[in-house]
């Protein structure tokens, strides 16, 4: 994993024998005023992999994702996308490689923009032609079809809105998709549809996923590897097989796993606090 691609004259040097990971985060720190929200987080995600970040509220999991997305500028450390280091300010080309799906489908679509406008704008910004065909293709891809093209968000159900959000993320044909709790605001039956959709799109487009969620079951379903975060640090990194076999090393992860299986009187009595 010693990939040090230096830029000279804007061109990456000859790539080493092992391909660079799709995403590499090294020793990331994020501070908001007095709060030290992320304290030295490092992980890497290979091309085509689906990586989960799990944690409770305030663990810093979403902050890490937003820093990778370029939505927070106050971070330190290193972020590399396919070997290229990115800074606090992203150039336009970055967004053709990295896109994001947000948690709340009711908050992530502009209330006065039609689906058509939502999908046409990224194409206009990046000067991509053939907008008609691209919009129709991406709408078909997320299972909506052309009938939805000129609707406003309030004319869509929660699941349909989240499909539009996925379509918006895919229309620039990125290779890395950041998913911030993409189904936590949805009913379980709708959650199943969106998760199936994401699984299918990942296979069809060869996407790399970074999925942030509080729901261990969703991570177990969607990811191959996961990192468990608490208080701004990664407590443990493990494979989904280890999680399924209920053999995490860290007591914090074990407690999280136990609590997410449902209510248990005994377990509730023995809850510990981890600082």
């Amino acid at each position: 994993m010693t990939v040090a691609v230096r830029r000279r004259g804007g061109l990456p040097e000859a790539v080493p024998s092992t391909p660079a990971p799709m995403l590499e985060v090294v020793d990331m720190h994020v501070r908001f005023d007095a709060v030290h929200a992320v304290r030295g987080v490092s992980f890497s995600v290979t091309q085509g992999e689906s990586f989960g970040i799990v944690g409770e509220s305030g663990s810093g999991k979403s902050t890490v994702l937003r820093a990778v997305a370029g939505l927070n500028s106050g971070w330190s450390g290193a972020i590399r996308i396919a070997g290229d280091a990115v800074g606090p300010r992203r150039e336009r080309g970055f967004y053709k490689r990295v896109q994001m799906v947000f948690q709340d489908p009711y908050g992530s679509l502009h209330p006065r923009h039609t689906v058509d406008r939502v999908l046409a704008e990224p194409l206009a910004i990046h000067g991509l032609g053939d907008a008609e065909a691209r919009i129709e293709r991406v709408l078909r891809d997320v299972g909506l079809g052309p009938a939805f093209r000129f609707r406003y968000p309030h004319q869509l159900s929660g699941g349909q809105r989240q499909r539009v959000a996925v379509a918006r993320a895919l229309i620039l044909e990125p290779s890395l998709l950041l998913l911030d709790e993409p189904t936590s605001a949805l009913d379980v039956s709708v959650q199943a549809e969106i998760l199936n959709l994401l699984t299918r799109l990942r296979a069809e487009h060869g996407l790399t996923f970074v999925l942030v969620t509080h729901n261990l079951a969703v991570v177990a379903h969607m990811c191959e590897r996961l990192a468990v975060m608490n208080q701004g640090r990664i407590v443990e990194e493990l494979t989904v097989e280890q999680l399924r076999a209920a053999e995490p090393r860290e007591p914090y992860t074990r407690q999280l796993l136990r609590a997410s299986l449902g209510y248990d009187r005994e377990a509730a009595r023995n809850l510990e606090t981890f600082d």
Binding site: L195, N196, H221, Y263, D264, R265
Partner: protein
Amino acid sequence: MTGAQPLLTVEDLRVEYQTRKGLVRAVRGVTFTVGREKVGIVGESGSGKSQTGRAILRLIPPTGRLTAKRLGFEEVDLLAADERTMRDVRGQRIAMVLQDPKFSLNPVMTVGKQIAEAYRAHAELDAGAARKRALDMLAAVRMREPERVYDSYPHELSGGMGQRAMIAMMLGTDPDLLIADEPTSALDVTVQMQVLAILDDLVTGRGMGLIFISHDLNLVASFCDRVLVMYAGRIVEELRASELGQAKHPYTQGLLAALPRVDQPTRELAVMRRDPAWAMEPVG
């Protein structure tokens, strides 16, 4: 656990709203009883589960119309009761906890003051006694520093602490029935466990009845004694929580199959095919 005499009897409860787009029937003929036990009401958004909870306390907006063959709480006929009686019932004998404590607590008043105020309104305690009672209750919901919490404003508490403060407020008057509408949905799983443990103790220890409204079928199954599954304003299935695996209604089965599980890997989750017949009322 169902005692000989149920605490609450609901028969053919209906809630309807007249809107611009026509009549919306939020609850359509719901019948159940609650004893001194934990009853879960499960359903997706729009299933009418929250409306059912509110209708028991007649807390529906004025545009709504509430009807029932029977809505009885012990000796009180909740349908016929006047506003005065209802006020006594609400808070004192039937309490309600909502999803987000941020919306239920007054932001410009300390938490302790609000709790004490609530006790004074219902139990006619003097200020000192109410304060002592509030501190006791804050300790009872396992707040580590009741004194500090008493003097805190709602925004100074975390979600879990706010929800426990709400429960303390609701329980100070020793209600017979608690209606909890998604009380833990905004909380982390470990905090959720703590809050559920408190509710569990209250039911087992004090013999309180609990209606636990939630979208989380697994959680309800692990926590409650009985589960009512609601769909489109109706109860489509009622079963013992321990027998959830043997659910017969395709909707319940569909909900269970749609859930991803840590212990059972699947390539693809089952997608529910909704049958219009589920929403139909049984004939006759």
